[in-house]
């Protein structure tokens, strides 16, 4: 945590309300995000308990598992989840626009433009918390290697038809969520924490109810008190008034409410299995569906507060204007979405259990680039983020005091004007350190200058004058193009980091990677992934 955000937290403690950490929204939100609030069974891996899912805040779809340890009921849940999620994803897959992508021509070895499809928008998935993002990954992992009857008629416990496909999509979303700045799959707590500082620790900020209470206290009271209530308040029956955002449930809920309800369902089901025909059967069928309804209403009771909190958070975030460069990052998400769509359509096998060395290195490199890009773009979009970089000595704002024309010493001298800048800040400048500034009217272009020397220091007001030499973007002529050189009196923000972060050198293709780094011989692929071994019993 930087000092400037620590200060924001302390201000929040003092005022009892969350304080802004950003002045624009740094994540893209689509018009129609799909919100998913999952719950899982304590102690079981990949045994979902229920979920609320949907794109309409007024009409969430409740999915539930009456007995989470029962394989058939779990499969029914997953099939229903696939029915809720996949149509949403697929509705984005067919709206495409033409785009160009550079590819190496295999014959000539030259880079050529290839026209490809790019989805005009991508399906966005919102979960309540970071644990929810992990759960999406886990669900994806548990489903993508399943076999359906169509894949293999002899497979034990075949999965419903669309479940493996949902597994592949959720895996893709879970993987994409690890790329800094991506918005395909977002955790609501992360979104709020990015934009507001609360008066509690980052550990406590993982509680969606408490976090939202700081940002938007009900009735406009003190956020601190509201957060404490959200964290701890219990009703007469000992149940939390603000249930945890999941996927884990509160142990008191499990023990006092859910366990008896599941037991009742189990009894009703056993009774139904032994029932004879006729009226007896009907009564028992009624008992079983009553028990199932009771479980559904219990789950709805703990899911709905979280559902509302997620939508309320989205409202708050939409009040912030979107950062100018967030769209650029969303375009990358659209490429990622389109890429996965193409892989699914081409019939490629599901993502492997573990990435091979080449893929892992590529992913790591691209995430590092994305992080650098995110850091630079957020600072350029948002003066408050830039303030943090200025405090760290990675950027500074100064007024141009003097411009002196100078030329490079070459056969064809080019303009290298010397600009004297007066600033009260203390950037970390060394000899010939490069600094960058945005050019007006074109956010994508930046001008480079290098640090020459400190000209003078004014001990009275603590300002220094420093001399910069502009080195590019001044046109081809002997005289710099009009408007391309700063003028005295201009107030300019200079950064020590590049505005447009490019990745390092491209990694070689897998077939050209040496075996020491995971390339050929026998490089990866080859053996298809086997489905997981399964518990022999019907119950876990």
């Amino acid at each position: 945590m930087s000092l400037i955000s620590t200060l924001a937290r302390l201000e929040a403690v003092d005022s009892g309300r969350a304080q802004p950490l950003a002045t624009v929204r740094h994540r893209h939100l689509t018009d129609r995000p799909l919100v998913l609030v999952p719950l899982t069974t304590a102690g079981e891996a990949g045994a979902p308990l229920g979920a609320l899912v949907g794109t309409d805040r007024e009409a969430p779809r409740l999915l539930s598992v009456a007995q989470p340890r029962d394989r058939d009921l779990r499969f029914a849940f997953l099939a229903e989840l696939a029915e809720a999620v996949l149509p949403h994803i697929e509705s984005y897959a067919d709206a495409v626009e033409p785009a160009a992508r550079k590819e190496t021509d295999p014959e000539t070895g030259k880079k050529v433009d290839v026209e490809v499809e790019l989805c005009t928008d991508a399906a966005q998935l919102i979960v309540p918390s970071r644990a929810g993002v992990e759960f999406v990954r886990l669900l994806g992992r548990s489903m993508r290697f399943r076999r359906t009857v169509e894949d293999d008629p002899d497979t034990p416990y075949p999965a419903p038809a669309r479940v493996p496909l949902l597994g592949r999509w959720l895996t893709h979303y879970g993987e994409r969520a690890r790329v800094p700045g991506s918005s395909l799959l977002l955790a609501t707590t992360d979104l709020l924490n990015r934009h507001w500082a609360t008066g509690q620790s980052s550990l406590e900020d993982q509680h969606l109810g408490a976090l939202l209470a700081w940002v938007d206290p009900p009735g406009g009271g003190s956020g601190a008190e509201a957060a404490l209530r959200a964290e701890l308040e219990r009703d007469r029956a000992g149940q939390l008034v603000c249930p945890p955002a999941g996927p884990a449930t509160d142990p008191a809920f499990d023990n006092k409410l859910l366990a008896p309800a599941i037991e009742r369902f189990d009894r009703a089901r056993t009774a139904l299995a032994t029932a004879q025909d006729g009226p007896d059967f009907d009564t028992r069928l009624g008992e079983q569906s009553d028990a199932e309804r009771a479980i559904r209403s219990l789950l709805a009771g703990v899911l709905l507060p979280t559902w509302d909190a997620v939508w309320r958070s989205l409202d708050l975030l939409r009040e912030l204007p979107e950062g100018a460069r967030a769209e650029d990052r969303w375009t990358r998400d659209r490429w990622s979405f389109t890429g996965h769509r193409d892989r699914v359509r081409a019939g490629e096998p599901p993502q492997p259990r573990r990435d091979d060395a080449v893929t892992a290195a590529q992913k790591l490199a691209s995430r590092e680039t994305a992080q650098a890009q995110l850091d630079a773009q957020e600072a350029l979009d948002d003066p408050l983020v830039m303030a943090g970089r200025r405090l760290a000595g990675e950027a500074f704002v100064g007024e141009v005091a003097e411009v002196q024309m100078a030329y490079s010493e070459s056969k064809r001298p080019s303009p290298r004007p010397l600009v004297t800048v007066r600033t009260a800040e203390r950037p970390h400048l060394g000899e010939r350190t490069k600094v960058y500034r945005s050019l007006d009217g074109d956010p994508g272009r930046s001008q480079t200058a290098e640090f020459v020397e400190y000209a003078s220091e004014d001990p009275d007001d603590g300002t220094v004058c420093l001399v910069l030499r502009i080195t590019d973007r001044m046109g081809r002529g002997k005289e710099p193009a009009p408007g391309s050189v700063p003028e005295p009196g201009d107030r300019i923000a200079w950064t020590l980091f590049e505005h447009d972060q490019r990745g390092g050198p491209k990694l070689p293709d897998p077939e050209n990677t040496p075996w020491t780094h995971g390339g050929p011989p026998g490089s990866g692929g080859g053996q298809a992934e086997q489905p997981d071994s399964v518990t022999a019993e019907d119950l876990l």
Partner: protein, 320 residues
């Protein structure tokens, strides 16, 4: 109980689903005299040797924790002397913590024919694609390190015995209830725990420093208890919330005092000598503090930059 009496009950407890699942899995792993467990053990630690056909499972029942600990020590000595495989199911170990004995119950300890003792920890969190949640594995390793330390006390007085520093962690494989295992080297955790145990203030010393007549009886009034708890110094940090029943009480106290640690340990490090929220804000606003202090100077710069940035967009930022 004490926390509830103080008015800050802790939300601890385990879901019975997790409890049942954990017990069922442990029973499955230890079924048939530990055949499956020994197979996993020799697979991971045996260096290619064939799995033992069976092991003796000594009876460890005795009255009270002291009795069970003595019975365990005896069983360990006998098994080591016998030179065969032995599986101790839920042995009881004693370890001195801050001057008073603490009793520990590992899931299992296996005695090898060569006299090595291996701690086995059975957990119900899954190992998916041969990797498990790092935080949970770390907790299991720290827990096992304490067992290893306790076993070393017994091994020191047992001829031919040695405690393995590699423990066997048994977890469900992927999404099934089939067990799989992994070897965890706990030398680091053992060293850390050993060092922490020697540095702990002895309980008698803490008790001696308390005022006469201090009691922690939950039957007392909240004020008396508050004063009693106050008498024992505590350094609250948000990490306490995950581990200690009294954390909510300490947090309420830390917040009331305006201690900056309630925002996290790292915050304290950043703020140098300034320890209260009010002090930091006054220093940042230029009302207090020595401008020559680098922390104060940095705070004032941060405050000025933050105010400037917020000013530049004022009206655009919806203040919640």
């Amino acid at each position: 109980m004490l926390a509830t009496a103080l008015g800050s009950p802790a939300a601890f407890g385990q879901s019975q689903f997790a409890f049942i699942r954990g017990n069922a899995f442990e029973a499955k792993v230890k079924a048939d005299g530990g055949t499956e467990l020994l197979r996993l053990l020799s697979e991971r630690l045996g260096g290619g040797a064939e799995a033992p056909a069976g092991a003796t499972v000594p009876d460890l029942t005795a009255a009270g924790p002291e009795g069970r600990a003595a019975r365990t020590a005896l069983a360990l000595r006998e098994a080591t002397a016998a030179g065969g495989w032995a599986l101790l199911d839920h042995p009881m170990l004693a370890l001195e913590v801050a001057g008073s004995p603490a009793y520990l119950e590992p899931d299992a300890v296996v005695v090898h024919p060569d006299g090595t003792w291996t701690v086995v920890e059975i957990k119900s969190f899954p190992m998916i694609d041969s990797s498990a949640d790092a935080a949970k594995v770390g907790a299991a390793a720290r827990q096992s390190a304490v067992y290893v330390l306790a076993l070393e006390r017994i091994a020191a007085v047992t001829e031919g015995a040695e405690v393995g520093h590699r423990v066997l962690l048994v977890c469900p494989k992927d999404f099934s209830n089939l067990p799989t295992a992994s070897v965890v080297d706990v030398r680091k955790q053992r060293a850390v725990t050993r060092r922490q145990l020697t540095r702990l203030t002895r309980v008698e010393d803490i008790a001696a420093a308390l005022p006469e007549g201090t009691t922690f009886d939950p039957g007392c009034s909240a004020e008396d208890l508050g004063a009693a708890v106050e008498a024992v110094p505590a350094a609250y940090a948000p990490e306490c919330l995950a581990a200690c029943e009294l954390a909510f009480h300490c947090r309420a106290k830390a917040r009331a005092e305006g201690a900056v640690e309630s925002l996290g340990r790292s915050v304290r490090g950043e703020l140098g000598g300034l320890t209260t929220v009010a002090g930091v804000l006054a220093a940042a606003a230029g009302k207090e503090g020595d401008p020559a202090d680098p922390t104060v100077a940095a705070l004032r710069r941060a405050a000025a930059l933050r105010a400037e940035a917020l000013e530049s967009v004022s009206g655009r930022v919806p203040c919640p």
